[in-house]
């Protein structure tokens, strides 16, 4: 039989009469939870940024024609040599085109697949950028600019000019920032490109592309798919790479295997290509959680300490409550509810502090050569952090309150009343 209103009134009076101590205890929780949220938000934001740097641009499945020796040599197909051990020395790759066979029907087929979000085709041409007397190595990627922007956030990496202008001019080129700097070229300038088979094509720079990876920016540039095909002297069925984006990234390995088997081509999935990113992310998360939980535990000890002191101060009150008919369980409830109220108020303020800190970091300028589209520090506002934060605040304060409260429950009133 517990009258919760009485318990609550006693709790409230205890907390109010010790406003300073209560506030200090609550502030401990506030800082613990606030820091937890800021750390989680910041670290996750950074993780997202770093992952995005690679994962956004990486197709879930990359289809291409790998140059490799024929796996089944002609001799093995001949019945006359069946059962013999045939050894061929010095096997060389077969001369074949780098393009994907039957690329156009394959793209149509892929686009019909329900798992596929989008498909982009590319034609890669190795060229030289002609800058006066010197020639620089370059790779020109023929792309469908609108699809790339839509599926692989290509627009984020165009630092000058715009991707759309590629559509307006057939001879437009988005030049890598490193290459542009080397040749001191800028948007609007002309650039001659010489191809492997000797032709020289005049192109006009409509934009500068910067990936943040210097090696790429020094050689990579983008043109329309058709322009690349012209550079190569090939028809519009020449496609060297097909990039597939799926609705669900997890299906990539399975589907890559399927494609390799049924179309006789090479298909790499994102998990195989970027296994190390998953590892990096999970380790960073682990560190964040470890630090945050340590902070919360420290806050928990603060509460434990303050409640312990409170109970020593309140020995007489506890004795008198017990003498007048409050049971040990009632006394325990009084002290646990004090801890939980401190945890709840402190936790709630911690959420506000966390949100405020996140907003502050979010608006702090952060500019780096490597990340052209990032202007401020990345922050994640995942509501999960806030839920975890307040839950942890409640649980840790409950535990911190439980031990002292149990001590209060077991205090023998006679000892205290007689001890005076």
């Amino acid at each position: 039989m517990t009258n919760y209103r009485v318990i609550f009134d006693i709790t409230r009076t205890h907390l109010q009469s010790r406003l300073k101590q209560t506030s200090v205890a609550a502030l401990g929780v506030t800082f613990g939870i606030g820091t937890f949220i800021i750390m989680m938000g910041f670290m996750t934001g950074l993780n997202g940024l770093l992952d995005g740097l690679v994962l956004n641009r990486t197709p879930h499945i990359h289809i291409y024609n790998e140059i490799k020796p024929t796996e089944v040599q002609p001799i093995e197909l001949d019945d006359a040599f069946a059962g013999d051990m045939n050894v061929i020395h010095n096997v060389k790759p077969k001369e074949s085109l780098v393009r994907v066979h039957n690329a156009l029907p394959l793209i149509t087929e892929l686009e019909k697949d329900k798992r596929v979000k989008g498909v982009t085709a590319q034609a890669i041409a190795r060229v030289f950028y002609v800058a006066g007397s010197i020639q620089l190595n370059g790779v020109v990627n023929g792309i469908d600019i609108m699809e790339e922007v839509k599926l692989f956030n290509f627009g984020d990496y165009i630092v000058k000019g715009s991707g759309e202008s590629l559509l307006k001019r057939n001879n437009g080129i988005l030049l890598g920032a490193g290459a542009a700097k080397k040749m001191s070229l800028d948007v609007g300038d002309k650039l001659n490109v010489s191809t492997a088979n000797g032709g020289v094509f005049p192109l006009k720079i409509v934009g500068i592309y910067q990936s943040g990876l210097a090696e790429v920016d020094n050689i990579q540039s983008f043109v329309n798919l058709k322009t690349a095909q012209q550079l190569l002297g090939e028809g519009n069925n020449y496609i060297s790479d097909i990039n597939v984006k799926l609705h669900n990234m997890e299906l990539a390995p399975e589907m890559a295997k399927e494609l390799t088997k049924s179309f006789d081509l090479s298909a790499t999935d994102i998990q195989t290509a970027n296994a190390q990113f998953e590892t990096g992310t999970s380790i960073r998360n682990l560190i964040t959680y470890a630090v945050s939980i340590t902070l919360l535990i420290v806050a928990g000890f603060g509460i434990y300490n303050i409640l312990n002191m409170l109970i020593y101060e309140k020995m007489n009150d506890i004795a008198i409550l017990k003498a007048t008919g409050f049971s040990g369980a009632d006394v325990k409830k009084i002290f646990i509810s004090q801890a939980v109220i401190i945890g709840f108020i402190g936790g709630l303020l911690g959420l506000i502090l966390g949100l405020g800190g996140s907003l502050l970091i979010d608006s702090a300028p952060f500019e780096t050569e490597a990340l052209p589209t990032i202007k401020t520090y990345p922050i994640s506002y995942n509501p999960m952090f806030y839920i975890v934060g307040i839950t942890f605040a409640m649980i840790s304060t409950f535990l911190a309150g439980y031990l002292p409260a149990r001590k209060a429950e077991n205090i023998d009133p006679v000892e205290i009343i007689r001890g005076q």
């Binding site: 006693i10 009076t13 007048t324 040990g328 009343i417 007689r418 005076q420």
Partner: protein
Amino acid sequence: MKVLETKKINKHFHNPVDFHVLKDITLSIDQGEFVSIMGKSGCGKSTLLYILSTMDTDYTGELHLAGELVSGKPQQELAVIRNEHIGFVFQFHYLLPEFTVLDNVMLPARKLGKKSYKEIRQDAYDKLELLGIQEQADKKASMLSGGQKQRVSIARALINDPAIIMGDEPTGNLDTKNSENVFNIFKDLSTKQNLSLLIVTHDQDFADKTDRIIVMEDGNIIS
């Protein structure tokens, strides 16, 4: 009718050495009787009082309160019995210092939970009025003088209309005038409201005016 009755209560202290503090205590108190317990320090009178009050359960023998055997009941039930049937007055007033006088008086009744908040509030006012301190009702308990505090704790003891009031030297810390006052209040309660009282005291004058004196020595009742 017997309000309180004990049969062969024995208690030992085990720390630091075994000490037989109460030896075969058998006594009873009638409805409306005003009884005092006297004896030298260490004779076991306070120990006996705390056993009778159900707060100390480490004893052998039987204790009946209002006709009911309470020995061996769990703590939870004993708390309810204390709440409903026993009023307590201590030497050191033991009010909750952060609460108002009225809140202090109301607490046991709110714990009992048999009446509405409003009724309890009215009861508490009535009790304070009975003891002549109703004008202090809204003050913090820590602001009162010793004599006033003791009257508040008597009001609190009365709030649930208990079967018996127990006191452990309730006048021990008061001057003569306030002692007199408290005694008169007790006497009134005993005669007018037919309330039973059991008071441990050192004060011979106080004891002489009660209905019956129980004298203890070395753990025995000698008269």
